[in-house]
Every structure is written in structure tokens, then in C-alpha cells.
């Protein structure tokens, strides 16, 4: 059985100031999956990625990429990794073609103009290949960052906040690109603030906060396990307070008393909805519309982080 594409064991990072950015992180990522690392600012997401990529030195622990230790076998490990950092960091005075070719060479790959061409075409950069980076728009610069990270055909790609500050079109393009990469067998690890992005794309989600990995779970399973559904009843007449007969139900008044919201577990055998509707009928509480929705990954994330705090 092949080793996981990424294996992280007991990784801790304490800075000289005494600040502990990561505390005994354990994580295994399987080949070909899309993994989303969620966490608030300062949670330790970028520190973890930086350690894996060799930019930051860990205090203790072990990291292997496809079985290669990032310390002892750093060449083999790093040659498999592509990194798109959060900030746009480019040599603004060189051309798109040159900077992408530079990255390929840096990772020890022979020149392959045909591959670079296909990469630039794929990222809608081909027309800009002879333009200097400084002449490009912000979105184009971000595409160049991705092209550079993919220039050496990595098997493990880190996207650190890839869609932060980009327009909707580029965001959708990036989602499509990530899916294409996954189809080609590339493992993608992304950090994001856009929870819907993780929900939409990731096979698994990890939640990190305060340097601790709070959970790692399949996105769908997490949604099933922790996801609540909401039944929203739009009332015929505004209600000032919840009637005493409904006091024992997980019900809240919203929209200035115009809506009654009932939270329930979608996986439970008895959701309680029929009984609730009967009770409302008996009490003469009329409603003109109803809607059900499930809680988003964002709700789950917030509740997890609040629980950890």
C-alpha cells in the first residue's frame, strides 16, 4: 500500500518569542483528494503549510511527502510540492513566460516549452506571455502565481487562500482548475475563509484553531454528523413571544416575530415536524409559507471554534 501523499506527525512550532503556533499536529492526506484546512486568522494554517514546504523550521515532529522525509530527503519531498502562497509575490519586471520557466528550472525540471504553453493557455495567460508581470491585473498576477506553482508538475499542491480578493469569474475558474487537477491525480490542499468553497470542493475538511487541529472529517460526513436542518415558518400574524405550549420545542422567533424557526436533526427517525405542525394547527397559529434549509459548513465551523474556545 503506498504511503499517504502527506504524513504529518506531532508537528509543533514554537517561535523564539515563546508563541506556540502549532501544537502536536497529526494529519494524513491521501493521494488525489482535495483537502480544505479551515481556521480563523492566526490559527496556524500558513505556518503548517510553510513547515511542509521548507520555509519555516518546525520545533519538533516529522513530515513526510510520499514517504520522503522533508529534512533528510528534502529534494525528493520538495520536488513533489507546488505552493501558491496567500500574498502575491512576483518579480514584477520579468515576463510571464520567463518567470514561469524560472520556477520550472528552480525545481530541477528540464525546459518544456510545450508544457508551459499548455499551462499558460489553461490559465488564460497565453496572450500575456510576453507581458511584464507589473503590467498585469491583480487576477492575472494570481494566475501567474498558480502557473509558477504548477510549472514543475507537482503531485501535491498547496493553495493558501487562493480566492481571497478575487472576482467571481476568477473564483469559479479556480474551482474548475482545482477539479481538473484532481482529475489528473494531483492532491490539493487549500486553506480558505470561504467556507462555501470548502463545502463545494473539498473531499475532507480539517478545522484548525489556536494551533490545534480540532477535527478532520469527510465533508459530507461532517455535514451529516453536525449539520442541523431548519424549518422556517412565515407566520400569518406577527408574534411577540413564543407561546407557552411551544416552550419545550427548539424554536426561535426571527424576523421581528414574523418567522418561527424550528431546528431539527435531519438524520433522526422522528424529526418532530408532523407533531409540531399539528400543535400549531390546534393552537390556531397560521402560517403562509414554509421553507427548510440545512446549516452550512460555516455554521459548523463557528460552533466548533466557539466550543474549542
Amino acid at each position: 500500500m503506498p504511503p499517504p501523499i502527506l504524513w504529518v506527525s506531532a508537528v509543533t512550532k514554537t517561535y523564539k518569542t515563546g508563541f506556540t503556533a502549532l501544537q502536536a499536529i497529526d494529519l494524513a492526506i491521501e493521494r488525489g483528494e482535495i483537502f480544505a484546512l479551515l481556521g480563523p486568522n492566526g490559527a496556524g494554517k500558513t505556518t503548517l503549510i510553510s513547515i511542509i514546504c521548507g520555509i519555516v523550521t518546525m520545533t519538533s515532529g516529522q513530515v513526510r511527502v510520499d514517504g520522503h522525509d522533508i529534512g533528510g530527503a528534502y529534494r525528493a519531498a520538495r520536488s513533489m510540492i507546488g505552493l501558491v502562497p496567500q500574498e502575491i509575490a512576483l518579480d514584477f519586471f520579468t515576463t510571464v513566460w520567463n518567470t514561469v520557466s524560472f520556477s520550472r528550472g528552480l525545481f530541477g525540471k528540464r525546459p518544456n516549452p510545450a508544457y508551459i504553453e499548455s499551462l499558460l493557455r489553461d490559465l488564460s495567460l497565453w496572450d500575456k506571455r510576453d507581458s511584464r508581470v507589473i503590467e498585469l491585473s491583480g487576477g492575472m498576477k494570481r494566475r501567474v502565481m498558480i502557473a509558477k506553482a504548477l510549472s514543475h508538475e507537482p503531485e501535491l499542491l498547496f493553495l493558501d487562500e487562493p480566492t481571497a480578493g478575487v472576482d467571481v469569474g476568477l473564483r469559479r475558474d479556480m474551482w474548475a482548475l482545482v477539479r481538473r487537477l484532481r482529475d489528473k491525480g494531483v492532491t490539493v490542499i487549500l486553506t480558505t475563509h470561504y467556507i462555501d468553497e470548502a463545502e463545494e470542493m473539498a473531499d475532507r475538511v480539517g478545522v484548525i484553531d489556536g494551533g490545534r487541529l480540532l477535527l478532520v472529517e469527510k465533508t459530507a460526513k461532517l455535514m451529516r454528523k453536525l449539520g442541523k436542518r431548519r424549518l422556517t415558518l412565515v407566520l400569518q400574524h406577527r408574534m411577540a413571544t413564543i407561546p407557552p405550549e411551544l416552550a419545550g420545542w427548539p424554536i426561535e422567533l426571527e424576523a421581528d416575530g414574523q418567522q418561527l424557526v424550528y431546528s431539527f436533526d435531519a438524520n433522526a427517525e422522528d424529526t418532530g415536524i408532523p407533531a409540531l405542525l399539528r400543535l400549531l394547527g390546534e393552537k390556531g397559529i397560521d402560517f403562509k409559507d414554509l421553507d427548510t434549509s440545512r446549516s452550512s459548513l460555516e455554521d459548523i465551523f463557528v460552533s466548533l471554534v466557539e466550543r474549542a474556545a
Binding site: T57, R75, L106, K109
Partner: protein, 258 residues
């Protein structure tokens, strides 16, 4: 580590990119030092040289040629190497170098190699320029090239250290401006230390640049302020110190890795 595991493509990527920067900034890289050197010849060779005539049996105009070349070689090696590594730090593209399958030694080889190549090319251009003003003959061409390469590599290593240490453009300029340039001007580029009265002659021997200029001048005219072995030894010692500092930077990740 076997030769097959050397990341030659990575070294070449950095080296060729740094050389391309020289072409991109051709006026700044080549023309400015050439014009400055030509002005030195006009001022020191023409105006002052007409009064001094000869130093140690060599026409003054020809006497200052090795010193002028060494002056450019020193300052350009430091400048090229320091900006070479500082620029990716400034633009934050250093992450790419740190995350590449490239050893620290390979990165140093690429940056220092490019900086040294640029300054040697410049030194050769200045040498050719000098021949337009004064007759220059080289007694030991092999030694001249050896001194040129040794000096360029040593001071490129020194510049690389400055580039890693610097956290602003001001810091990048401070050591060349406050230490290197004064030492270079007081290093016998425009005079022989025999021309100085005591105790300045002895004090001048504490200036490491004296040994570089002396050795380089010896390769031209067979005469120097100090013995050629002393010059070589001093340059090699400085190179060893620079390599030791770089080794420490590699071990600690000083100002490169947190």
C-alpha cells in the same frame, strides 16, 4: 551527495535570471561604472598624473589602472550579490527559493556565481576602457585573472551576507557606503603606501584592500606594496571567513527562515 543529485537546472535558473537582470539594467550595470572609471582617468590620470609622473617606475596613469579595476570589482561584487539575494527577500519571492529542492550551497553558488561573473565582465570592460587612455601591459595575465576571480568571488560572498542581513534598502547600502568605499579609497588604488608618512604607512597595512590592490598591481607590473603571497593569503583568509559566516547562516536560517 553525488553529482547526479545536484540541482543543476535550479542553479542555472537562478544564474541565468540574475544575468538577465544585468542585461535588463544594462545602463545601470555596465555603462555607469564605465563612465565613472573614465572620469577617474580624466581626474586622476590626466589632472593629477601630469604632476606625479611615475610611481615605482610606472607612469601614474598606468599605475592607477589595477587600483581602479579593483575598486569596481570590489564594489560591484558586493552590490550585485547583495541586491541579488535582497531583491527576492524584498519582493517576498524568496519563498520560492526556500521551498525548491535546492541546497543552500547551490543557491549560494548560483547567486555568488552570477554576481562574480557580472563584476568580472565589468572589470574586463574597464580594462579595455583603460587602454583607450593609457598604455597598459600585463606581466602575469594568469595571476591577473586569478586575482580577479578570487576577489570577485570573495566579495560576492561578502555581498551575499550583507543581502541576507539587510532588512531595508538603507541597511543594504550602509556597509558598502560606510566601510567598503572608504577602505577601497584608502587601499592604495591611487597611490603606493610607500608615499605615505609613518605612522599612516603602518596603519594602512591594517586595511585588507591594500593586499588586494597590491597583489593585483603585481600581476600587471611585477611590483606591489606587499608580497604577492601575503596578498593571496589575505584574500583567501577573508574568503574563508565569509564561507564560515555563510555556513552559520545555513545552520541557523538567520533572516531567511523563522
Amino acid at each position: 551527495m553525488s553529482w547526479s543529485s545536484v540541482n543543476a537546472a535550479g542553479i542555472w535558473a537562478i544564474y541565468s535570471t540574475e544575468m538577465a537582470r544585468m542585461v535588463r539594467t544594462i545602463w545601470q550595470s555596465v555603462a555607469t561604472p564605465v563612465i565613472t572609471t573614465a572620469l577617474y582617468f580624466v581626474v586622476f590620470g590626466g589632472a593629477i598624473g601630469s604632476r606625479i609622473q611615475q610611481v615605482g617606475g610606472v607612469d601614474y596613469g598606468a599605475f592607477i589602472v589595477p587600483g581602479l579595476i579593483m575598486l569596481s570589482l570590489l564594489t560591484q561584487s558586493i552590490s550585485n550579490a547583495s541586491i541579488g539575494i535582497y531583491f527576492p527577500k524584498f519582493t517576498k519571492t524568496i519563498f520560492e527559493i526556500l521551498s525548491a529542492p535546492l541546497s543552500f550551497g547551490e543557491a549560494v553558488l548560483a547567486y555568488v556565481g552570477a554576481a562574480a561573473t557580472k563584476s568580472i565582465l565589468l572589470a574586463l570592460i574597464i580594462l579595455v576602457t583603460a587602454t583607450a587612455f593609457v598604455p597598459v601591459h600585463i606581466l602575469h595575465p594568469g595571476w591577473m585573472v586569478a586575482f580577479m576571480v578570487l576577489t570577485a568571488v570573495t566579495f560576492s560572498l561578502f555581498g551575499f551576507i550583507i543581502g541576507i542581513w539587510a532588512e531595508s534598502f538603507e541597511q543594504l547600502a550602509i556597509i558598502p557606503a560606510l566601510v567598503v568605499t572608504p577602505l577601497t579609497f584608502l587601499g592604495g588604488a591611487f597611490y603606493s603606501i610607500d608615499m605615505l608618512p609613518q605612522p599612516w604607512r603602518t596603519i594602512n597595512l591594517l586595511n585588507p584592500v591594500v593586499y588586494l590592490v597590491s597583489g593585483f598591481r603585481w600581476s600587471f607590473y611585477g611590483k606591489g606594496d606587499v608580497g604577492v603571497e601575503t596578498s593571496l593569503g589575505f584574500t583567501a583568509l577573508f574568503m574563508a571567513i565569509c564561507l564560515a559566516v555563510l555556513w552559520w547562516i545555513f545552520r541557523t536560517g538567520y533572516r531567511l527562515k523563522s
